[in-house]
């Protein structure tokens, strides 16, 4: 504990030595620019002074020190007998200055530009001049944004080759990250995250995000870390950089380094921010308002041929109730009684602002404070943070408390040790959502009639009569606001990561380091739906049964709510030990060797429980009494379930770097990963992952040295193997224990085989080439890095259909192959650098070309899922050729000719003989159907990247960062289906126009052969088409490009004299606007181009922040 009292000790020591000390005064300047160095540490090292603390034979070591202020000045009282002080600052060479009299100016030399930057691999650090790999290092201070809870979100547009996609907005969404494309079809596609050397468990997201998992709450361990505690992030991209992580690193590695204490006096850093999340612009959705919706329903009422859900919509209800439909159809509105007209007109005025009911503007806060400092023997960093965000969608919240403690000890000349503790508690909430699409607020907002009111005149919730909430033929009342108020969906995460290390220097060239990391993640999910909620009503209806005794229908769900608790506990330890050896001969040969072992074991325990008849006041549930034994195995009512996943890994690894004459670097790395592939012969459990790479520091050559404006020129190349394994398939029959009740009252244990054995199963392998150039010009004022890569993945595991006579429909086999190749460009420049004004720019752009080299098509699929020679995420469409005279779509065939709808789909009436006009069918086989589709383009962007411009003028600084995503094919969700336009729901204004015949969208029609000559086409669109290909017309597809200005941040640093007054070294205020502008292709009908086509996503919101930060 006394370590944290250092600031106090420091003061005491100063007083104790007051009589015999002298004062040192000076100014620290940058030796090149002669600008003041602000915040440099001037410190009396412990080895230079030791004072008697009054306890016999004990000496207190402590640091005396000071920091330079805004003008570079410092003052420090030092003991009279002191010889020298040490001055240091990040990016400068540390110097020792003999104690001097009077005032002196001290020049700090920049530390060899960025050449001494190190690449943090999570094992040994590699000096940048020895680099042979493709990586990016980001200083978190440069990318920090207010109102972003998690660091992953901040990586958008910062790293060439890292593609970040947001499928959802709101505080609980997690972005999908892909580094250099996708190399696995079914295996994990997410990068490996490493925090202070500890590879983190539980960071995988589902590979496919759909409506059912879009809004489910996940806690990614990365989200528990306060970005303020992170110093820098290194993204390892090519095989040479990632091979040290073995099999888990095929998708790239993101290494996070947290902040650590530096020698010097205690430094207190506080920051407080508030930010306002804006309510999304509801108008972007282009929905009909109450007036337009009434017009729409009136037009629909006139159409005698449109017989889909005819009774729906308030207008139709009014007409039906007054028995006035025929009168209206013959005589129009004028033919209606004044009462009826009045009721209809009333609807026009009854505009509910659903944007306000479901979304909000929210005021949020974010605070953090840290203390850091230390001396030669001990350095510390201690911080705590609080983050509270309410999403733009009502009911979506995040609150996080975090605590970080990092300690480093130099025990003696030979021993170093340290421990990091990262703890956090997060509480997340989202609106509850079940299988019915309208329970998703984002989707409901599009469906709900604008005249529909939340409450009736008496203040009770009114239930939407137009939604299709049915269970067992019973209509289930739904009200979106009631649903939100009476349900709860929350996830609490308690996380602790602890990493300790011990390093022993055997001889100066040889050291042994051991690191032990622990991760605990406790996730508690609660889903509660009170009795008065759609969720519970629906379940209750599902429990209806016919009671033979009383001859009535009864429900066996007890009265009350429904509560579900899932507890998921992740534990892992990771213990790695390695030897490092460095040796330099003749000043020409530099050799670094490293080798070691790693043991890792993780256990994931899942417990889920469910209770029914839950009373929120007594917090108790009731037992279900099943009417018969059939329901006993019904998973919906299963009260308790437990599961485990346990994995262990043992690995051996080693790498070597050899540098000749500072010019040529060769690097080799190999790692054997063994894992608990259950029952697999031990010799097949180990997979070798290796890489070989080299680089040439051209400027070190005599013939060019100092002769050009070039300040850095390095050529790099690497080759390596990356791998992945599937854990769900075994080379022989493996069963799982289960239970089954064949006869009531006699449950039996079973051994269930879920997969056929595949003895030809292999690891997925990716061969990876990389070539790159690093270029520095004009003393590295301009830096350019270009990389080209080619990654060929073979033996990708995918499902293959199996004759059912095997007892299984499909099997996982290694058959697919894919290639990713791409180019990445990173430019960073400091165009203007004067004492008053500076301007710098960071820019990156990347292009990835993903191609499937070998795939097997699912013979049953009607639409192509994947095609050889096309990207994994390809878009396939049916090419249309305009509307015919009836407003029905025509199509362009593969040969260029145009077909009518019926011809194109090969429609005929299978029942023409006995029940003509009842149903339509296609004569196409699945393969014929598949062949109709044309490849349109990739759903992955062609180019991704970002640009940040930073300006500084005197005490003002401004940073503008932008992210761009170019040429990505997206498809909008059609707002309607021409055969089943439901007058009971709202649509975009397009539909009103389609009804009025003002657009080129397909006309509405009936499926009835009596009402519509083209009934076959409409029947096909309504439900006979097995894949609803209306959604895959090319008219919905579009090439989307956008540039998002994701952050504009303006800061003002108070002059030193002013901050001194409150005792601060540095005081800064800043304002920031996030996501203020998006420039891009038209994205009408959606909130944002990034979530284009998605009806279920929470909006990505704009926010404004105001913040204060100070250091003391």
């Amino acid at each position: 504990m006394n370590k944290f009292l250092i600031p106090l000790t420091f003061m005491c020591v100063q007083m104790a030595h007051a009589q015999e000390s002298k004062e040192l005064k000076g100014k620290v300047l940058d030796a090149v620019t002669l600008k003041p160095v602000v915040g440099a540490t001037v410190v009396v090292e412990s080895s230079a002074v030791a004072e008697d603390i009054g306890v016999p034979n004990q000496v207190q070591q402590s640091a005396l020190g000071s920091l330079t202020d805004a003008s570079g000045e410092f003052r420090l009282k030092v003991p009279g007998n002191l010889k020298y002080v040490t001055i240091s600052y990040v990016g400068y060479q540390r110097i020792q200055v003999p104690v001097f009299q009077d005032h002196r100016t001290i020049l700090l030399q920049p530390s060899g530009e960025s050449l001494d930057e190190v690449i943090v691999t999570g094992y040994t650090d590699i000096k940048k001049r020895k680099n042979t790999t493709a990586y990016n290092k980001i200083n978190v201070a440069d990318i920090k944004q207010t109102g972003v809870a998690s660091i992953d979100e901040m990586l958008a547009g910062q790293v060439a080759g890292l593609q970040l996609s947001n499928f959802n907005g709101g505080p609980n969404s997690a972005p999908q990250i892909r580094i250099r494309g996708t190399v696995s079809l079914n295996g994990t596609q997410d990068p490996l995250w490493v925090i202070d050397g500890l590879p983190i468990e539980g960071t995988e997201l589902p590979n496919r995000i759909d409506k059912d998992n879009l809004n489910s709450l996940n806690n990614l361990p990365i989200a528990g870390i306060n970005p303020d505690d992170i110093a820098d992030i290194t993204v390892l991209k090519d095989a040479a950089a990632t091979s040290i992580y073995g099999a888990r690193a095929a998708n790239g590695v993101i290494v996070i380094t947290t902040k650590r204490g530096k020698s010097g006096p205690a430094k207190l850093q506080v920051s407080a921010n508030t930010f306002v999340t804006e309510r999304p612009d509801f108008g972007k959705l282009n929905l009909m308002n109450a007036n337009e919706k009434v017009d729409f329903e009136l037009l629909m009422a006139n159409r005698t041929d449109l017989n889909y859900r005819t009774g729906k919509g308030a207008v139709m209800r009014i007409l039906d109730n007054a028995d006035a439909l025929d009168a209206y159809r013959s005589g129009g509105l004028a033919a209606l009684s004044p009462d009826v007209q009045q009721s209809i007109n009333q609807l026009r005025l009854q505009q509910t602002d659903w944007g306000k009911e479901l979304y909000r503007q929210a005021l949020n806060q974010q605070y953090s404070a840290s203390i850091s400092g230390g001396n030669d023997a001990h350095r510390y960093y201690l911080s705590s943070g609080f983050y509270d965000e309410k999403g733009a969608t009502k009911g979506a919240d995040l609150r996080r408390y975090s605590l970080t403690l990092n300690n480093d000890f130099n025990i003696n000349d030979r021993f170093k040790a340290g421990i990091n503790l990262l703890g956090s508690i997060s509480n997340r909430r989202n609106p509850i959502q079940d299988d019915d699409a309208f329970t998703n607020p984002s989707n409901y907002m599009r469906l709900v009639n604008p005249y529909f009111t939340v409450r009736d005149q008496s203040g009770k919730y009114s239930y939407d009569p137009d939604i299709e909430g049915y269970e067992k033929d019973t209509y289930i009342p739904f009200n979106a606001i009631e649903e939100r108020e009476n349900t709860k969906y929350a996830l609490t995460n308690k996380a602790l990561k602890a990493i300790g290390y011990l390093e022993y220097t055997i001889i100066p060239q040889l050291s042994l380091r051991t690191e032990f990391g622990l991760q605990f993640d406790e996730n508690s999910m609660e889903r509660f739906a009170d009795q008065e909620s759609y969720n519970t009503r629906k379940l209750r209806a599902a429990t209806r049964y016919y009671d033979s005794a009383s001859k009535t229908f009864k429900y066996f769900l007890p009265t009350g709510g429904k509560i579900e608790n899932n507890h998921n506990s992740i534990f892992q330890y990771n213990w790695k030990t390695y030897l490092k050896y460095n040796k330099t001969w003749n000043e020409k040969h530099e050799l670094e060797l490293m080798g070691g072992t790693e043991l890792r074991r993780s256990k994931n325990t899942m417990v889920s429980s469910k209770g029914f008849g839950y009373n929120p006041s007594t917090l108790t549930t009731q037992n279900i009494v099943f009417p018969n034994s059939n329901y006993q195995d019904d998973q919906r009512f299963n009260p308790y379930k437990k599961g485990f996943i346990e994995n262990s890994y043992a690995s051996f690894y080693g790498n070597a770097t050899y540098t000749f004459d500072r010019k040529y670097n060769v690097y080799g790395s190999i790692r054997y990963d063994g894992s608990n592939m259950f029952g697999v012969d031990p010799q097949y459990r180990f997979l070798p992952i290796w890489s070989l790479s080299g680089s040439w520091n051209v400027l070190e050559e005599e013939f060019i040295k100092g002769k050009t404006a070039l300040s850095d020129l390095r050529v790099r190349a690497s080759y390596g193997i990356q791998g992945n394994v599937d854990r769900n398939t075994y080379p022989f029959i493996v069963g799982n224990y289960d239970n089954s009740t064949i006869l009531p009252g006699y449950p039996e244990g079973t051994v269930v085989v879920g997969m056929p054995a595949n003895d030809k199963l292999r690891w997925e392998r990716t061969q990876s080439y990389n070539a790159g150039i690093d270029l520095g010009l004009w003393k590295n004022r301009l830096n350019i890095t270009v990389d080209y890569y080619n990654r060929t993945s073979k033996d990708l595991i995918a499902n293959s259909a199996l004759p059912m006579e095997n007892g299984f429909q499909d099997v996982q086999v290694n058959w697919a192959s894919a290639r990713n190749q791409g180019v990445e460009l990173t430019i960073s420049s400091r165009q203007i650098q004067t004492e008053k004004f500076s301007w710098s720019t960071d820019f990156n752009i990347a292009h990835n070309n993903n191609k499937l080299l070998k795939v097997m098509n699912n013979p049953k699929a009607y639409a192509p899922e994947t095609q050889e020679g096309r990207p994994i995420n390809g878009m396939y469409v049916l090419e249309t050729a305009g509307l015919d005279k009836d407003g029905v779509m025509q199509f362009r065939n593969q040969d260029g000719s145009v077909s009518s709808f019926e011809e194109f789909y090969g429609l005929y009436d299978p029942w023409a003989d006995f029940l003509p006009g009842y149903t339509s069918q296609t004569s196409m086989t699945a393969a014929d159907y598949r062949a109709k589709f044309k490849y349109k383009g990739s759903k992955d962007p062609k180019f991704v990247g970002g640009m940040t411009n930073r300006f500084r003028y005197a005490n003002f600084d401004l940073a503008i960062s932008a992210v761009f995503n170019l040429e990505r094919w997206v498809s909008r969700t059609p707002t309607y289906n021409p055969a089943k336009v439901d007058r009971g729901q709202n649509y975009t204004k397009d539909l009103l126009m389609a009804l009025q015949g003002k657009t080129a969208l397909p006309a509405l029609g009936s499926i009835s052969s009596e009402l519509n000559e083209r009934w076959m086409a409409y029947g096909w669109m309504e439900s006979n088409d097995p894949i609803n290909s209306f959604n895959q017309y090319d008219i919905w597809a579009k090439k989307m490009s956008y540039v998002r200005i994701n952050s504009i941040r303006l800061g003002y640093t108070l002059p030193a004299a002013m901050s001194k007054k409150i005792g601060a070294n540095n005081l800064r205020v800043n304002v920031e606007g996030r996501n203020l502008f998006v420039f891009g292709a038209n994205y009408e009908g959606y909130f944002d181009p990034e979530t284009y086509g998605n009806y279920y996503a929470q909006p990505i919101s704009k926010s404004f922040a105001f913040g204060l930060s100070a250091s003391f």
Partner: protein, 429 residues
């Protein structure tokens, strides 16, 4: 040194995942066998829709999935239609194959091990037999060369499954049945375990198989073997008597199959023609059916309590039928009357026996077949009985449309499900 490091490493990597097992113990093999039973399909429930026993309830939401089964539209069913079970048969066969191929190397023979292995053979025989009943022609000397079903007797993902002839298919079924019966050590399964094969169950299965093959003598012999172990019948006159198809009833032999699943129950009513076949004093009408609204629904199914594969009443009827066919009318009457005694009121029974005694051989055969229809109603056997006997014309109406299954219609043999053909084009060979 290296070896010891590797050994300790392998130890570190040896995690037996909780709940996961490579089957080795006796209880593991029992668990595999139970999975084989659990996987067995409820195809008989769908078959009931094809017979004259049910009417489609058009207002039911489940009707969308059962409509095309009801209309015998196997060629181009609506995509929503539930596919006829196919995979599930082979899933059960897979478990059998796994047991048969590995049990001897993992375990030494004893009464329990032999019983499990015997059950595996019988399950393989029964699953293939049921596949034949659904997807092939009836066995007869003139039909042996026709297409039977693909035989699965080993686990090998690369083997091809070309349908065997009917003759070869039955050879395999008979051989498995024989091997299995010889291995069984349990004569009669206890209540709760009576979803498993016992000797009694094996004989009952053999009896049905021979009946369907027209081997009357063998059918009688095997039925008698089963009845020697237990020949009781439920007496519906007794107060508190259970339904004969209740797994706890005294005449239950094997209660494995779900013959009336919710999807079918909720989309159908009992056909008036079936209801009107029950005469005055037949206790079954009141016990089997119940009026709901204007229609009748079945009380025989809907819960796993009413699982049934074999029960004594069927054996009585088999013996009666085979004896008539062999010309032993007296013997046939004896068994028919024994059953009726337990199914009719005392008065009605007296009337029935009197009337039966006067019947000609042909009339008696009809009477026995009618009794099969009444006794085994909705137990999934009606379709097979129609198929192997008269193959009559059946008319089904749905949504205002009437479809007729013609006399001797080829659709008495069900087409292989499309999904099975998709995965195995050899099925069309």
């Amino acid at each position: 040194m290296t070896a010891s490091v590797l050994t300790s490493c392998n130890k570190y990597l040896d995690i037996q995942p909780v709940g996961t097992v490579i089957p080795t113990s006796e209880s593991d093999f029992r668990g595999l066998m139970t999975s084989g039973y659990t996987s067995f399909p409820a195809h008989k429930s769908y078959l009931s829709l094809r017979t004259d026993e049910l009417l489609l309830d058009e207002s039911s939401t489940d009707a969308a999935r059962t409509k095309d089964i009801y209309l015998w539209n196997d060629q181009n069913p609506d995509p929503a239609t539930t596919a006829y079970p196919y995979l599930a048969f082979y899933k059960s066969i897979f478990y059998s194959n796994q047991i048969i191929s590995t049990i001897d190397e993992k375990l030494t023979s004893n009464a329990n091990v032999d019983q499990i292995k015997g059950e595996a053979y019988l399950m393989r025989a029964y699953a293939h037999f049921e596949l034949l009943n659904c997807y092939s022609e009836v066995y007869s000397t003139s039909n042996v060369g026709l297409r039977g079903v693909p035989l699965s007797t080993k686990i090998d993902l690369e083997q091809r499954f070309v349908p065997a002839t009917i003759g070869d298919s039955y050879t395999q079924v008979l051989s498995d049945m024989e091997k299995g019966t010889a291995l069984l050590t349990v004569d009669d399964q206890a209540k709760g375990a009576n979803y498993r094969f016992s000797k009694r169950g094996a004989y009952a299965m053999a009896s049905r198989l021979h009946l369907y093959r027209g081997e009357w003598k063998e059918a009688i012999e095997t039925a008698e073997k089963a009845l020697t172990i237990n020949s009781r019948l439920v007496d519906l006159n007794a107060i508190g008597s259970k339904l004969p198809n209740d797994f706890e009833s005294e005449e239950m032999i094997m209660a494995l199959e779900k013959v009336s699943i919710p999807e079918v129950r909720s989309s159908s009513f009992i056909s008036p023609s079936l209801l009107s076949s029950y005469s005055e004093g037949d206790l079954r009408k009141g016990r089997y059916f119940q009026k709901r609204g204007g229609d009748y629904v079945s009380l025989k199914g809907g819960e796993n309590r009413f699982n049934v594969s074999f029960r004594n009443a069927e054996l009585y009827l088999t013996i009666a039928e085979c004896n008539v066919r062999l010309g032993n009318t007296a013997e046939a009457l004896k068994y028919l009357s024994a059953l009726k005694k337990n199914r009719f009121t005392v008065d009605a029974y007296a009337k029935e026996t009197k009337a039966d005694a006067t019947l000609s051989k042909e009339q008696l055969l009809d009477a026995v077949l009618l009794e099969r229809k009444l006794e085994l109603a909705l137990e999934g056997l009606r379709w097979y009985d129609l198929k192997r006997t008269t193959r009559p014309t059946i008319t089904h109406a749905s949504f205002g449309r009437t479809v007729t299954l013609q006399q001797n219609d080829p659709r008495y043999v069900i087409r292989y499900p499309q999904e099975a053909i998709n995965n195995n084009p050899d099925l069309l060979k």
